[in-house]
């Protein structure tokens, strides 16, 4: 078992979670839970542009979260390991209990209020 009690281990593990931590990539992973798909199928299921999907698929592939197999002019992608799906399942279980908290977590999802600071008052 990999030990993560060192700095490089934490880096690695964080990078693994990053694979899951982007809406576009997570969307792809969720889509692949129902079975292998071609890029075109992924694109249409996720409503993302083809280049964007390819870019994220590359990352997911290099991270080992998905595997690719070329068949003719198609490339079939699938989750690389059952544990990828297991992690999704477990996170959903956790999420169902902490959803409200996550929903309200604002540090990294601020509603884009670039200039709201001068909205009358704001003194503290």
């Amino acid at each position: 078992m990999l030990t993560v009690s060192n700095s490089e281990g934490v880096q690695l593990q964080a990078k693994l979670f990053r694979g899951f931590g982007d809406p576009a990539r997570l969307n792809i992973l969720q889509t692949l839970r129902s079975g292998p798909k071609t890029v075109t199928e992924i694109v249409s299921a996720t409503c993302m542009s083809q280049s964007n999907a390819s870019n994220h698929l590359r990352c997911l592939r290099e991270c080992g979260l998905v595997a690719a197999e070329q068949q003719g002019k198609y490339v079939h992608y699938r989750l690389s390991d059952d544990r990828v799906g297991d992690l999704l399942t477990m996170s959903e279980s956790l999420l169902s209990d902490v959803a409200l908290g996550v929903y309200e977590c604002t540090r990294y999802n601020l509603p884009h209020k670039k200039s709201l600071a001068h909205e009358s008052g704001e003194n503290r």
Copy 2:
């Protein structure tokens, strides 16, 4: 169980994973696996600045991944749920098999070549 088959669900779930997907936050979570800690203890265990730790702790708290309890002038932080640790354990299991791939995933960890563009040329 929360359904993630919709756009908001994926957003939420991605945000949950983001809590794990940053080295600083993951470092804090790993530190808390061995038991509750004060901010000062977390700071010294992780070698991060106090304000940085507080900022990340706030995110982790708002995401529901950690819980805080004030005791006198100390605030004790702990993992909020066993499943947080379980997710870490499971990711480590997965990582031990895909570690090489993750290590080589370059799309989001490019080696910092800030000024390489003007290395003779720079015309674009």
